[in-house]
């Protein structure tokens, strides 16, 4: 009997007892359905995070700080005990009163010397007081400290002009109406005034052009401002300060080759560590988020797999009954010269057919239902998170689910199939 013939016969046999097969298929359906859905959640959220990466910053960027900033943590104590005070170390006051070691121009020069680093720019933290349109109300604002090169999805506008030296900003969508614009499109091109005060309390005003309006995302917050505007604000903020005080920075932004491999990036980080700096890439920042999501999806998948294991006992049961019922038929086929291996193949194939049916139907319905659910959620409760589709189905992972279920079904089928293959034809033909 050829392979095709065995498959064809197994399909026919599977449907001989329709109710029993349907119930077993249903049990597998539940497992495959759950597994496809949980995988869909994993894929959906991971895709969303990936799509948000650009709003965190370009992938060819590494954020560099003094090693003690990360070693000591927020509490100033590392595993090796508190860091000793060094009066020569430049220190900047951070948010919430914490202090951390800062980078000076000398540090920047040292970082520039690390192999693989293409350029280094200090991250100038600017904290403007307000933003307002001419004659309108003034509003408080936050500036996104994301390094230049951040790319966000825009509702309107075209983004910064090429070299980024013009004083421009990407307005957060929430500010459009309060600032007196009818819609995001109307805001583009308008000139806004940003107020900033220096350390002596002196107020300065800087004008900036709206180059675009950002879409809301979970990672991006506040305004994204061009390099030109950052420089203008920083100059205003540090007006009157001696150079030694003005030219210290908490973090520097270095660029490496966009084509650098993971190993090369690791090399750069090792070189930085050797020089007592610490570097974090976008991938590092995302790693933590991804670990949590993978953990949750893993637990959900484990539940689905438990359901599948329960279903595979259903397959064993169904096929054992089927072998029992067809004992004489098996005897006849053996008498007619059907070999053991063919009998074994016939019954395991029947199990695989049942597994395939359950998983294909389960995955199909999960995809249909999941697509509807995520569309409804995206238009309803999750409307504010533009671009988030809770459930997304990756064809490869769906196929993998189906193949895993078929493998599980095959394994379940081996016990009844072995029993059928071992049957003695004479005994089988006498079986009542």
């Amino acid at each position: 009997m050829s392979f095709v013939e065995i498959v064809r016969t197994a399909i026919g046999n599977a449907f001989r007892s329709k109710l029993r097969t349907t119930l077993t298929v249903l049990a597998i359906f539940v497992g495959a359905f759950t597994l496809t859905l949980t995988n869909g959640v994993g894929t959906g959220i991971t895709n969303y995070i990936d799509s948000q990466v650009s709003s965190l910053g370009a992938t060819d960027i590494i954020m560099i700080s003094q090693a003690s900033l990360t070693e000591g943590g927020a509490f100033g104590a590392s595993a090796s005990g508190p860091t000793e005070y060094d009066p020569d170390k430049a220190v900047v006051a951070g948010q919430m009163g914490s202090q951390f070691a800062a980078l000076t121009n000398a540090d920047l020069a040292a970082i520039r010397g690390v192999a693989g680093i293409l350029s280094v720019e200090p991250l100038r933290v600017v904290s403007p007081d307000y933003i307002g349109s001419a004659g309108g109300k003034k509003y408080e604002l936050t500036v996104n400290p994301s390094p230049a090169g951040a790319r966000v999805a825009l509702l309107a506008g075209t983004g910064f002009t090429a070299d980024g030296t013009a004083p421009e900003l990407l307005l957060a969508a929430a500010y459009v109406e309060p600032l007196g614009f009818a819609d995001p499109g109307a805001a583009v091109g308008a000139t806004l005034t940003i107020g900033v005060s220096d350390v002596f309390g002196q107020k300065h005003e800087v004008e900036a052009r709206v180059a675009g309006v950002q879409e809301d995302t979970i990672f991006a917050f506040g305004m994204i401002i061009s390099e030109g505007l950052t420089e203008a604000l920083y100059a205003a903020q540090t007006a009157g300060l001696p150079a030694a005080a003005a030219e210290i920075y908490p973090v520097a932004v270095a660029r490496f080759s966009p084509t650098a491999s993971a190993a090369q990036v690791k090399e750069i980080k090792t070189a930085l560590e050797a020089a007592d700096y610490s570097g974090r890439t976008v991938a590092d920042q995302l790693g933590a988020v991804n670990t949590v999501i993978n953990g949750i999806v893993g637990v959900l998948n484990a539940f689905a797999v438990i359901a599948l294991i329960a279903a595979s006992f259903g397959i064993i049961n169904t096929l054992l009954m089927s072998v029992q019922e067809r004992t004489r038929e098996i005897g006849l086929m053996k008498a007619m010269g059907m070999g053991r291996s063919r009998i074994f193949a016939l019954f395991t194939t029947e199990a695989v057919v049942i597994g395939f049916l359950g998983s294909a139907i389960g995955s199909g319905i999960a995809i249909a239902l999941g697509t509807v659910i995520s569309t409804v959620l995206a238009d309803g409760p999750l409307k504010d998170l533009a671009g988030l589709r809770v459930l997304e189905f990756n064809p490869v992972s769906v196929v993998v689910v189906i193949l895993i279920v078929m493998l599980l079904a095959f394994l379940s089928g081996t016990l009844p199939a072995a029993r059928a293959a071992r049957l003695d034809p004479i005994e089988a033909l006498r079986y009542e």
């Binding site: 013939e5 016969t9 001989r16 005897g331 010269g337 004479i426 033909l429």
Partner: protein, 184 residues
């Protein structure tokens, strides 16, 4: 009969198939031999339920790996021999006793066997239908030279055979040849 059909191995003595001891044949070789040279007719028919008459008849050919089209053609040929061609599409379980046994004979014929083993072929049939089935079997013997090995309790049926072996509790108690056999 199970011994002769190579389904069982003897406790004592040996079975020789065309000069070779059956014991020395591999399982695959035995299967191939049974599939190509033997046909089986059983008292209880042993059909695949929920399958058509034609599907039942071509089962040995399917096991032999004959392609579909050829199989159906050959199946119809043998059904014609037992005058069942009009029932080819019917469900096997829906047939009458005599029709079932004719179908089973067609199945035994499908692979053009050299020997047909018949275990109480008329045991489940009334005498009229039994006679039809008997005639069919002996006609196969006469026309196609197929050897019949029949197990029966029916003296009349036994009378029609060329050679008779009487068994009691698994042992041969007597054997007789008819005039035809004696003349040979």
């Amino acid at each position: 009969m199970h011994l002769l059909a190579l389904l069982d191995t003897p406790d004592d003595g040996r079975i020789v198939v065309e000069g070779t001891d059956a014991r020395s044949l591999s399982a695959a070789a035995l299967n191939k031999l049974r599939n190509s040279a033997f046909g089986f007719v059983f008292q209880q028919f042993f059909m695949i339920p929920n399958a058509s008459v034609l599907e039942n008849v071509v089962l040995p050919l399917k096991i032999a790996g004959m392609p579909r089209g050829e199989r159906a053609e050959r199946g119809m040929d043998v059904l014609r021999q037992v005058e069942m061609e009009d029932k080819a599409r019917n469900l096997a379980t829906a047939l009458s006793g005599g029709q079932k046994q004719r179908m089973v004979i067609a199945r035994a014929l499908a692979n053009e066997p050299r020997i047909i083993f018949a275990d109480e072929p008329t045991g489940n049939l009334d005498s009229a239908t039994g006679a039809v089935v008997e005639d069919l079997l002996f006609e196969l013997n006469a026309r196609h030279g197929i050897t019949l090995v029949i197990v029966t309790h029916d003296e009349e049926l036994a009378e029609r055979c060329d050679r008779r072996v009487y068994l009691k509790d698994g042992l041969i108690v007597d054997s007789a040849a008819t005039a035809v056999e004696a003349r040979r």
